[in-house]
C-alpha cells in the first residue's frame, strides 16, 4: 500500500523519476526531501517502467530543479517523465521577425531581442514563479551575458524559456551581428 499511486496522501505530482536500482531511488528520495522538494516513492506503471520497480513521483513542473539537484548530489537516474500524455517536451520553436527585433517562441514562452545588439528586450508568456524572476535578471542584457534560464530556473516554464534563449543566441550569432 505504501507504494500505491493515488491521491490519498495528498500529493499528486504528475512526474516520475526512474532509477536503475532501488538504492538510487532511496537515495534520490532522501536528497530531494533534504532540499525541500516534495516527492514520494511509488511503483511506476508498467508502461513507463525502466530499470527498477521503484520510482519517485515528483511535481513534474519542478523537473529542472529535480534534475539539477540529483546531479549535484551524484544520484544517477534514468529519466524524468510525465505520468500521462506526451513523454517528450515540446521541441517546436517559432520565430517572428519584427524588423529591428526578433521574437523566439518555445512552448508557452517568448523571448524578444534586438537584432543589432543582442540585448534582451522582453520576455513574455509562461506562468510559473521563476519567470518574472528570470525576466528581471535577463532584461536589458546582451544574450551572451544574460544568465541562462536553465541554470537559474526551477520549472518547466524556465526550460521552455531556455529553449527560446538557446535559439535566440544562435540566430543572433549567425545572422544579426
Amino acid at each position: 500500500m505504501f507504494f500505491k499511486s493515488g491521491k490519498k496522501n495528498g500529493f499528486e505530482g504528475g512526474g516520475l523519476v526512474l532509477f536503475e536500482n532501488v538504492e538510487e531511488a532511496m537515495s534520490g528520495e532522501r536528497s530531494l526531501k533534504a532540499d525541500g522538494i516534495e516527492n514520494r516513492l511509488v511503483a511506476p506503471p508498467p508502461e513507463l517502467r525502466r530499470g527498477c520497480d521503484l520510482a519517485l513521483e515528483i511535481n513534474l513542473v519542478e523537473k529542472p530543479a529535480v534534475e539539477r539537484m540529483l546531479r549535484s548530489r551524484q544520484v544517477h537516474f534514468i529519466d524524468i517523465l510525465p505520468m500521462k500524455g506526451d513523454a517528450e517536451l515540446l521541441q517546436v520553436v517559432q520565430v517572428t521577425d519584427f524588423g529591428e527585433a526578433v521574437m523566439v517562441k518555445a512552448g508557452n514562452m517568448k523571448l524578444t531581442f534586438d537584432k543589432a545588439t543582442g540585448v534582451v528586450l522582453n520576455i513574455s508568456g509562461g506562468g510559473c514563479p521563476d519567470i518574472p524572476y528570470l525576466h528581471a535578471e535577463m532584461l536589458a542584457k546582451p544574450l551572451d551575458r544574460a544568465p541562462r534560464p536553465k541554470e537559474m530556473g526551477h520549472t518547466l516554464c524556465s526550460l521552455m524559456l531556455d529553449r527560446a534563449y538557446v535559439q535566440s543566441l544562435e540566430i543572433w550569432k549567425n545572422g544579426s551581428r
Binding site: 499528486e12 504528475g14 510525465p82 512552448g107 508557452n108 520576455i123 509562461g126 510559473c128
Partner: protein, 301 residues
Amino acid sequence: MLLICGTAPRKDLPLTQGEASLHGDTLRINGAAIPCTQGTAALVSAACKTLEYLEQPSPRVLLVGDDGTGKGSRLLYEHLIGNLPRLAPRVVVLHYMLPVMGLMRKVSESASKAARRPFMIADAAAMYAAKAAGIARDFDLFTPDLSELAFLADPQATHPAYVSRHLFESDSTRIPELVAAAYANGSAARTLVVKGATDHVAQNGRILDTVSEPNVPALEAIGGTGDTISGMVGAFVHGGFDEVTAARVAIRANRMAGLYAGATPATRIWQVIEVLPRVFADHLDDWARQAGDASMERSAS
C-alpha cells in the same frame, strides 16, 4: 473586495497583504515596493488603474516572493486555504504561483466554504494547476493565450511544456476547434478569454466575440500584456460588469493601450498600463454600451 493573489520576483518578500497602489512604474503594497513588470505586478497594476477609473476601492493583494522554488507559493496556498471564507472576497484572481494540484484543489474547496463562493478567475500557472487537478469547471473565467489554449485542449497534459505537438502547432484559425476540445474535456472555466492575434471570448463552449483591431503585433512580445487583460477583467467584474462584457471591454482596452503607447517590442508593460485611463476616457462608454447591446441580443436569442 477584489482579491489578487500571486508571486513577486523577490526572494525576500514575505507574504504581504494590503491595498495596492500604482506610482509610475512601482507598485506599493503595505510598505513593499514592487516594480511593475511582467507577472502578477502587471496584473495588479492594470486592476489598480481600472478600479481607479471606475471610482472603486483599490484591489486587495496577497503577494509573496518566490524565485521558482515554490516556497513562497506554498505559503500563499496555505493562507488561502485557511482564510478565503473569512476574507469573503467578491472576486478572486489567482495568478503566478507554482502549480501544485492538491493545494489548488484545496483552495477551490475553501472558496466554496465562503457564505457566497467568489467569482474565481485563474491565469498563468494557477490556471495550469486548476486544469491539471481536474477542477477547471469550478472556475468562472480563464485567460489563456494560444499555447495555453492548446494545453487546455490536450486532455493528458499537466503543463504547456508537454502539449501534443499537433495541438501546439495550431494557428489562430483553429481556435474554435481548440475551444470546443477544452470544453469537451472539462478543462475550461465557464468563460474563456483567449488572448492572441485575434482575441476570442467564449462561454460554455460557444464563441461570443472575436476582436482583432487595432492590430498591434508588438503587444505579443511585451511581457505582461496578457496579465493586464486578466487584471482588467477582474476589475471590471468587481465593478459590476457581467463577465462577458468585462472580457469584451478588457481585450479592446488592451489593444487600444498598445496603440496609444506606440508599442514596440522594446516597450515596458508599465508604459502600456499608464495610458489606460486615457483609453477608458475615450472609449469605455461606447464599448460598454456595444457589449451591453450584444449581451441583450444574446439573451433574446
